[in-house]
């Protein structure tokens, strides 16, 4: 089974090279999608030679960057996809443990649930709690972390879980679609490191995610 890691990146010149190098050890292909960065993310990524390095001509959001990456993986006939964030918050050394659990339990989608630890900003903890509870009520899927960007999925489920969101709602929409198709979803804890509190999901993003969940519930 061929495994590809997809790393969507936007203005991550500081961390991208290390994330690529660390990820390379555990997968067959590393696919990086530079989402129209205005810094030297692309050049930094190029230095460490990922297998596929793609660039969006303009910033189009994480959702589209993931779609681009997954479609590149489909073109290259990959069987399993791992998505991880480019800011170094996920530890690529978790990949073997995740792959083993994923295969052993014959899952369609495995989520790396971030532990609620002291490293996690308080706003994230509250936001995650609200999103998690709303998600459970609306979709009946009980996962601790609907927003984690660290995931493993089979490429063949892509058509079932394909999303319209381009921003931070993508993870929740992916999960909502997986729940709707009764796919086998699993969860394993991961440790995360937050390098930059100014980046990532904001409170407004959180509100948008909850409103989007209501919309998906009503329209699907």
């Amino acid at each position: 089974m061929k495994v590809a890691a997809i790393i969507p990146a936007y203005n991550e010149e500081e961390h991208i090279a290390r994330v690529i190098q660390d990820t390379k050890k555990y997968v067959d292909k590393v696919i990086v999608v530079d989402d129209g960065s205005t810094d030297k993310t692309y050049q930094e990524a190029e230095k460490v030679k990922p297998d596929i390095l793609l660039k969006h001509p303009i910033n189009s959001g994480k959702g589209l960057a993931l779609k681009t990456g997954i479609e590149a993986a489909l073109i290259k006939n990959m069987d399993i996809i791992i998505t991880l964030d480019s800011d170094g918050q996920h530890n690529p050394a978790d990949i073997p443990r995740f792959l083993e659990y994923f295969k052993k339990n014959k899952l369609d989608l495995l989520i790396g649930a971030r532990k609620l630890n002291k490293n996690m900003p308080i706003v994230f903890k509250i936001g995650n709690y609200i999103i998690q509870k709303t998600f459970k009520i609306l979709f009946g899927v009980d996962v601790k972390d609907t927003q984690s960007g660290f995931r493993i999925l089979k490429t063949k489920i892509y058509k079932k879980i394909i999303w319209n969101s381009t921003g931070y709602s993508v993870e929740a929409e992916m999960l909502a679609n997986a729940g709707k198709h009764k796919l086998k979803i699993g969860e394993l804890p991961i440790k995360t490191v937050y390098h930059d509190k100014a980046k990532g999901t904001t409170v407004i993003d959180g509100v948008v995610i909850v409103l989007n969940m209501l919309r998906w519930r009503l329209t699907r």
Partner: protein, 109 residues
Amino acid sequence: MVLGIQIIGFVFAVAMIYFTYLYFRRRQFDMKDFIIWLIVWILLVIAVLIPSTVNIFLESLGIVSAIQLFAITGVLFLLAVVFFLHKSVRTQQKKLNKIVKAIALEKVK
């Protein structure tokens, strides 16, 4: 007697007719856009210069004054414009995403 508000309304409508014509000449508006917006601004000129023309609507709609009619129809018109703009932006966004993805994936094939 011509009121100040009538002068403002008239100047506004004439300016908008000018921009409508300008965009049409620059081919940023097609004939359909040009005619629709021209009708909107001409109706505004008529209503501003001859307010009595709107009186026929006031009684049947239960509206007290012409100013109220302008405010209500103005808000409804703006809501409709926002609605159609939203739809248009969504459509454009989808097309743009398709192009961005296609450009990025070009070298994979």
